[in-house]
C-alpha cells in the first residue's frame, strides 16, 4: 500500500491547486506576456519565454510547499515520510508542468518558427522538470511566501539576464534549458552537457527539500511508519 502514501498527497495537492484557478491563470499569463513582448523583435524570445515559464511552475510549487508547511508536521506525526509527501507533490506538479510546457511549446513554435521545434519542446520540458524541485526546495527553505517569491524572481531574473555562454549562467538551475532554447533560436551552436546538468540540479534540489522537511520534524520523521 506504499503507493497510496504517495498517490493520496498527490491527489490532494491536485485538488488544492485546481481550486486556485485564478492564481494559476495569472502565473501562466505572466511568462506568456514575457514571450509576447519580445517575440517580434528579439532573437532570444524563445529563451526568454521558456525560462520565464519557471515563474509559473516554480511559483505554483512554492505556494504548494508553503501552504502545506503547517500541515506537514501533522502528516509526518501521523506516519508519512517527508519523501512520500514531497514525491506525491512533485509528481502532481510535474503533471501541471507538462501541461504548461505543452501550451508554451505550441505558442512559441508557431510564434517564432524555430529551425528545430523539438529543441524548443525539449528546453521548455527541461524548464518544467527543473522548476518543480526548485520551487519545492525554495518553499521549504524560505521563511515566508514573500521571501520565497523574491528568491524565485531573483534566480529566474538573473537566468534571463545572463547569456547561456557565461560561466555564471551554469551555476543556475535553468542553464541547460536556456542552452537548448538558445540552440533552437540559433543563438549558440552547441548544447554541451545541458540536459544532464539540469537533471542533476533538479535531483539535488529535491533531495535538499526532503532534507529540510525532515529537519523540521526530526523525531516524528524518525518514528516507524504505520
Amino acid at each position: 500500500m506504499r503507493w497510496r502514501r504517495i498517490l493520496v498527497p498527490a491527489v490532494m495537492t491536485g485538488r488544492e491547486l485546481a481550486r486556485r484557478g485564478l492564481a494559476l491563470g495569472l502565473l501562466t499569463a505572466l511568462p506568456l506576456a514575457f514571450y509576447g513582448a519580445s517575440a517580434d523583435h528579439s532573437d532570444n524570445a524563445i529563451t526568454t519565454g521558456g525560462i520565464a515559464m519557471a515563474f509559473s511552475i516554480a511559483g505554483a510549487s512554492i505556494f504548494v510547499a508553503m501552504t502545506a508547511r503547517p500541515v506537514d508536521q501533522r502528516l509526518i506525526l501521523a506516519g508519512y515520510r517527508p519523501w512520500e509527501l514531497l514525491l506525491g507533490r512533485l509528481l502532481l506538479l510535474e503533471l501541471f508542468g507538462v501541461l504548461v510546457a505543452g501550451i508554451f511549446s505550441v505558442v512559441m513554435v508557431f510564434g517564432s518558427s524555430p529551425s528545430d521545434p523539438w529543441l524548443v519542446a525539449g528546453g521548455v520540458g527541461l524548464v518544467s522538470l527543473s522548476s518543480v524541485p526548485f520551487g519545492l526546495a525554495v518553499g521549504e527553505i524560505a521563511p515566508h511566501e514573500l521571501e520565497g517569491v523574491l528568491v524565485l524572481i531573483g534566480v529566474v531574473g538573473v537566468q534571463l539576464t545572463l547569456d547561456s555562454s557565461q560561466a555564471a549562467s551554469r551555476l543556475l538551475p535553468f542553464w541547460g534549458a536556456a542552452r537548448l532554447m538558445d540552440r533552437a533560436g540559433n543563438v549558440v551552436s552547441t548544447i554541451g552537457p545541458a540536459v544532464p546538468v539540469d537533471l542533476l540540479y533538479a535531483v539535488a534540489l529535491f533531495v535538499l527539500a526532503i532534507y529540510i522537511m525532515h529537519r523540521r520534524s526530526p523525531a516524528a520523521a524518525a518514528r516507524p511508519a504505520a
Binding site: 490532494m12 506525526l77 504505520a226
Partner: protein, 224 residues
C-alpha cells in the same frame, strides 16, 4: 494498634502498581536563541490519566507539547513514548482549500487505514463534537470553533495512545466546551493518556493531575 495495622496490611490487596507512563519527558531544556524557554522541565502521563499543563504566557507550554510530539528537538533531555501520539496544535494545521473529509482521506494512508474506515471513524468523531458531518465546505469557510473540531478529530483519528491537546477548545461555545471534558473522561476511561494545555482555572478540577510550568528566571548565555 500496630498488630491491627500489620493484620490489615496482610489482608488488604496490594496497592496498585503505578501505571507505566505512556509518555515521559525528562529534563527538557529548550532555547530560542539566547532565550531559555524550558529549563529541565518534566512531564509524564500514564494510561488512563489526564494531566493539565498550566503556566503564564511564555512559560513554554506549547514548546513542551511540540517536543513531546516529536515536532521539535529539545536542546537537552529526552522523551519516551509508548504507542502513538495524537497532537492537536493550538492553531489548527489545516489546508484552507480542502474539506474536513479530504483531510480525513489524506491522513488515512499515514495511519495505515483504508479511506472508508478513516471517513467512518472521522465522521463518528466529528459527530460527537456536533460538527455537521455532511458539511463539504473548505475549511477556510468554517468558523473558528468548527475548524478546531476538525483539528481535534484529526488528532484522535486512528486511536492514539497519548493525546496532546494544546488549548483545544478555542472558539468552542459553552456546550462544546462541556462536551469536550466529558469526552476527555471517556478517552481516559478507554486507557488513553491525555495532556491538556489550559489557561482556565476551572480546568484544574477536571483532571487527575496538574503540572505547572514557570518561566525560567535566568537568561543564561547559550550553551556552545
Amino acid at each position: 494498634m500496630s498488630a491491627l495495622q500489620t493484620h490489615t496490611d496482610t489482608i488488604a490487596p496490594p496497592p496498585p502498581a503505578p501505571a507505566q507512563p505512556q509518555l515521559e519527558a525528562r529534563g527538557i531544556t529548550k532555547r530560542y536563541g539566547s532565550r531559555l524557554v524550558l529549563d529541565r522541565a518534566s512531564l509524564s502521563v500514564a494510561a488512563g490519566e489526564s494531566v493539565a499543563i498550566i503556566g503564564e504566557n511564555g512559560a513554554g507550554k506549547s514548546t513542551l507539547m511540540r517536543i513531546c510530539a516529536g515536532l521539535i528537538r529539545p536542546d537537552g533531555g529526552e522523551v519516551e513514548v509508548l504507542g502513538r501520539v495524537g497532537y492537536c496544535p493550538q492553531q489548527p494545521g489545516l489546508f484552507d482549500l480542502l474539506s474536513a473529509d479530504e483531510h480525513l482521506e489524506l491522513l488515512a494512508p499515514a495511519l495505515g487505514m483504508r479511506r472508508e474506515a478513516a471517513l467512518r471513524q472521522g465522521h463518528e468523531l466529528l459527530a460527537e463534537f456536533a460538527f455537521p458531518v455532511a458539511e463539504r465546505t473548505q475549511t477556510r469557510h468554517l468558523s473558528g470553533g468548527a475548524r478546531q473540531k476538525v483539528n481535534l478529530a484529526l488528532a484522535l483519528l486512528g486511536g492514539p495512545t497519548v493525546l496532546l491537546l494544546d488549548e483545544p477548545y478555542q472558539g468552542f461555545d459553552h456546550g462544546a466546551y462541556v462536551s469536550f471534558w466529558e469526552h476527555v473522561a471517556r478517552w481516559t476511561s478507554l486507557g488513553m493518556g491525555v495532556v491538556v494545555v489550559t489557561h482556565l482555572l476551572a480546568d484544574r478540577d477536571l483532571v487527575d493531575r496538574v503540572v505547572e510550568l514557570r518561566i525560567p528566571q535566568l537568561d543564561a548565555p547559550p550553551t556552545p
